[in-house]
Symmetry: C2
Subunit: 207 residues, 2 copies
């Protein structure tokens, strides 16, 4: 099956399904339905069935989904049935919080390499990993074959960091800097900017 | 004009336009075009013109947009021509990073009230603001008329926190906990979960 056939918006919902399945598992639930998933997510059950049908048959009409099975399949589809090594560039307040965050590990990711350009931080350890100088970024990322990175540097520095990461072989970027990046075709970027979300909320909120 | 008429996906792009206009302003640019905005954002110029046309006429064919004017208009539409007071619940690593983040202020937001349930943190100061006990949340938020909040607590605690915030009058939530919240109609929730973004990337990245 080619990924070209499936709309990106469908792919974007799969991690939410996976997250909800994990939550149900934690609650001791073994079988669920598109109806239950939909209620938890505020998505219609028809949409969920349609999304999943792109990838095969995961449940039978009337019997629901085996959560363990569907979880495994979604992990495989999203390629998080393995652990991805992730580079983190920028060890300020946010970078530090990301390095400490323990929610990556059991969901397919592990920050294994940290970079900063502050001489006071370079060479120090954070959560068992050394902080390297950004000047070594290209070389180390290439040598370790890292293909995923998170950017947590100021907006002014983000494009330069992105260029260096991409030239070293990174193919996926999660950018926390509040700026859009220009990347070559074949490189995927996702953005996290809390203000963008807050502004999307305030449009609707009565003052 | 009623907000009901305009698709939420259009509203979701307005903060990106505003962010890009601010960037152009920083670069000393005074006039832009849907073409230039589109190139910076990876969105078609036709889409941008169509999005903006929901709200009026912001430029003339061939002469482009006056950035200062369009910026003002977008700020007004998104209601960030004022400063919103925001409550932050959960002062762990992430909450601390959010409290320190200086990117909120000039984009319409200011964290003015912090809550945590850790007795070691309650009563201490962070960036000039006292950290209050979560048990005081309802009362203080209601008294100060705060309508926006960020949730940065563990997944297990998020729904309870959300319920308390909503009952105190909060109408917009930015939820960092990796769990979907159930809120009454009229309350807007946006989510930030880096793993959801990373999993959306890995689907496309060759291993």
């Amino acid at each position: 099956m080619s990924s070209v056939d499936i709309p990106d918006i469908v792919i974007g919902r799969l991690p939410l399904y996976l997250r909800t399945l994990s939550r149900l598992t934690l609650e001791g639930v073994k079988i669920t339905s598109s109806h239950e998933l939909g209620q938890r997510l505020g998505i219609s059950s028809a949409q969920i069935r349609k999304d999943l049908s792109h990838f095969g048959e995961f449940g039978k009409q009337g019997t629901g989904y085996q959560i363990a099975y569907l979880t495994d399949q979604l992990r495989r589809i999203l390629k998080v049935d393995k652990e991805w090594k992730v580079a983190l560039v920028g060890v300020g307040d946010l970078g530090r919080a990301l390095a400490h965050y323990n929610g990556f590990r059991d969901r397919g990711f592990r920050i294994t390499m940290l970079f900063d350009n502050d001489p006071a931080k370079v060479g120090t350890m954070l959560d068992g990993f050394q902080i390297y100088d950004s000047s070594q970024m290209k070389d180390l990322i290439r040598r370790h074959g890292i293909t995923l990175a998170m950017i947590a540097v100021p907006a002014e520095a983000a494009q330069k960091v992105s260029d260096a990461l991409v030239s070293a072989g990174v193919r996926g970027l999660l950018n926390y800097a509040p700026i859009n990046l220009s990347v070559p075709e074949g490189v995927k970027v996702q953005y996290i900017d809390p203000v963008v979300h807050l502004q999307r909320i305030t449009y609707y909120v009565e003052e």
